[in-house]
């Protein structure tokens, strides 16, 4: 029984990190209507900035998080200005090729500037945990989970309780209509894309604390974020949390109870995407 409960807990805690990564991606998809294949690379930049803050400035990665998020927000704004906004009205294939190329460019830039080495940080709370009887709750993962809940709550509040949020929803629903009523669509897109990148960076800081920073670290999480937003429904922020929990717990159950399950964990999210798409098409056919 302890193993089963710990497995559920492992999955839930892991899902916090997934939700953080997926929330930014869901925002970009929901507002701009663009699938950002470079999302994992913005996470990687966040991880490296946190590592640099800790290694060279002696600043705790979690304390550096607001600055890291602001820096990557600026990188996102620059990226939007020089590349993304030029393909917003282009066919989807062009958008995908652009963001895919951007991802490769950023990853190779990191390789050239920093090499392929795995970088880690050392913090006093890295191995902290709360023991509840036989169950353990890892400190940094609990922080990631709480942060994901706060971030998603804040995003929801911004989208449904503020003028900017109303503008974002209006732009997402009908770009032309929003323009006609005087909304500065370009500005809304710029903010949405930059916030999306900043959220990836926040996840990157936690990845740096929990795991490591390396040029390829974003890929695993970006793939899982894609699975989550497909499950949640493209652009559906409220669905991200439950979809992340479903993915995290499914992975943990497979890893614990299926023989050789550790090798199957990457297949879980592909199965989830497949299952979700089949279910949706079945519902659509009815």
């Amino acid at each position: 029984m302890d193993l089963f409960l710990q497995t559920l807990l492992n999955g839930l805690l892991q899902s916090g990190l997934y939700a953080l990564v997926a929330s930014g991606l869901a925002l970009a998809v929901g507002v701009l209507g663009i699938v950002n294949f470079a999302h994992g690379e913005f996470l990687m930049i966040g991880a490296f900035l946190a590592w640099a803050a800790s290694t060279y400035l002696g600043v705790d990665p979690l304390l550096a998080m607001p600055l890291v998020a602001a820096a990557v927000f600026a990188v996102g704004a620059f990226t939007y200005r020089v590349s993304i906004r030029h393909v917003l009205l282009a066919p989807e294939l062009n958008q995908m090729l652009l963001t895919f190329g951007l991802g490769i460019l950023l990853q190779n830039l990191a390789l050239m500037l920093l090499g392929g080495n795995t970088r880690t940080v050392s913090t006093p709370y890295q191995a902290s945990s709360l023991q509840l009887g036989a169950l353990s709750i890892g400190g940094p993962k609990a922080v990631a989970f709480a942060l994901a809940a706060v971030v998603l709550g804040a995003l929801y509040a911004v989208l449904y309780r503020t003028d900017l949020g109303r503008q974002m929803r209006a732009v997402a629903q009908n770009r032309r209509g929003a323009q006609l009523i005087g909304i500065n669509v370009d500005r809304v897109y710029l903010i949405a894309f930059s916030v999306s990148c900043a959220l990836a960076a926040v996840a990157g800081v936690l990845v740096c604390v929990l795991l490591f920073a390396s040029p390829a670290v974003g890929l695993v999480f970006a793939l899982k974020a894609f699975a989550i937003i497909v499950m949640a429904g493209l652009g559906n922020l409220t669905g991200v949390l439950w979809a992340s929990a479903l993915l995290g717990v499914s992975e943990a159950l497979v890893q614990t109870y299926v023989p050789g399950g550790g090798g199957w964990s990457d297949a879980v999210f592909f199965l989830m995407i497949f299952g979700t798409l089949v279910l949706r098409s079945f519902r659509g056919a009815r």
């Binding site: 390789l111 392929g116 795995t118 191995a127 890893q255 614990t256 050789g260 550790g262 090798g263 964990s265």
Partner: protein, 386 residues
């Protein structure tokens, strides 16, 4: 005539006729820590060789190529070195996967290879009885022999009996896992868990929970550097009490030794900067003089020994004739930072350099890698958690 003289002059000035060694290394990608360490070793050896007269009376030339830790990139880089750069000899090689990939072109071009890495047995199969393949690094079964000897010691003196194995699901972790389990069982251990994991996923929660349920004395981990910290973190968070966490990654994450979570994690190395041999001390001093720092990666001295012994064999052969150089290299008997180097048969290849007896077991203690086994090489007592 004038043109001919000019051409000859230009060729002489350009160093035409100098011996060229192609060095294929993973300078980027998953094995880049190892590849970059090896490159430093080659550069140091190259300096020393050329300072002492070069090879066959001319400065030795080394052409580096990056295989990107990927077989798909290794093959064209290898072919370019052999056909475009027209190197006389090939050296380097770290990963087993890239070495298997280039075994085809190596046979096609009948390439002379002085190889420093690639421990997996499928590489040995690919180069079985090749008369131009000199393998410096011990094969995987020599590595395992060394590990088994350490674990036997732990069984006798610390009561270690139950082993859990966590292995990555690629060729590095999975090839030979059945033989590993069988060998542990034959040696009287209980293999209480064998779990695959995806390298780089960082998701060790379920694996550690399962290990906790079976209460192992030793957790033997076969994976890459990216997994070291997440695994150590999860073990501490879930309060898994072990006698020893023992890992065999090709390299460890940069700065891992400074993390408190690294304390008492043990591993395998052919060499440590504190190794007592005179050749090791000489290497450390020369390395420090050139790079201003000391490396902990054994691939640096391994590459150094590799190029020095190859250059010496070419000089003794008096030409770049492959048969003559192979005959001379086969006679190598020199002191190295790892102990004496001679070549003898392995299970399948003609020329095997270092074997099980060259391995050292270390433990991260107080920000450093400290040799703890074999006992004659131990600098501090090992910390065993039970």
């Amino acid at each position: 005539m004038k043109t001919l003289l000019m051409t000859v002059g230009l060729l002489a000035l350009s160093g035409a006729g100098a011996v060229k060694v192609g060095v294929l290394l993973p300078l980027s990608g998953a094995s880049s820590v190892t590849g970059q360490a090896a490159r430093s070793g080659y550069q140091l050896a190259l300096d020393e060789i050329n300072r002492s007269g070069g090879v066959l009376g001319k400065p030795l030339e080394v052409v580096f190529a990056d295989d990107g830790s990927a077989p798909a990139k290794a093959v064209p880089e290898f072919v370019k070195l052999v056909t475009v750069d027209r190197v006389d000899f090939m050296a380097g090689g770290v990963s087993s996967a890239t070495s298997i990939a280039i075994s085809g072109p190596a046979k096609q071009y009948n390439t002379f290879m002085a190889w420093i890495g690639a421990a997996a047995v499928p590489v040995e199969d690919a180069f079985a009885d090749d008369k131009y393949f000199f393998h410096y690094h011990p094969w995987a079964y020599y590595n395992f022999e060394a590990i088994l000897s350490y674990f036997r010691y732990l069984k006798t003196y610390k009561g270690a009996k139950n082993i859990a194995i966590a292995y990555e699901d690629g060729p590095f972790g999975s090839a030979g896992i059945d033989a590993t389990v069988a060998a542990f069982r034959k040696a009287g251990f209980n293999v209480v868990l064998q779990e695959k994991f995806k390298t780089g996923s960082g998701n060790f929660g379920p694996l550690v929970s399962k290990a906790k349920a079976v209460n192992p004395d030793i957790l033997y981990w076969i994976g890459y550097d990216t997994d070291a910290l997440p695994l150590a973190t999860e073990i501490r968070q879930q309060n898994l009490k072990l006698g020893l966490l023992y890992g065999t990654p090709p390299s460890w994450p940069v700065g891992f030794e400074k993390n408190a979570l690294a304390d008492n994690v043990a591993g395998l190395s052919l060499w440590l900067p504190g190794s007592p041999q005179a050749e090791s001390r000489k290497f450390v001093a020369a390395y420090k003089a050139k790079f201003g720092t000391v490396t902990e990666e054994y691939f640096a001295p391994l590459a150094y020994v590799n190029l020095k012994t190859l250059a010496a064999a070419i000089n003794r052969a008096g030409s770049t004739d492959k048969d003559a150089v192979a005959a001379e290299l086969a006679k190598t008997n020199v002191p190295t930072p790892f102990g004496p180097l001679t070549f003898s048969r392995s299970n399948k290849t003609q020329y095997q350099g270092f074997k099980a007896g060259n391995w050292l077991h270390f433990q991260f203690q107080g920000d450093a890698r400290v040799p703890v086994f074999p006992i004659k090489s131990a600098q501090k007592p090992m910390v065993y958690g039970r």
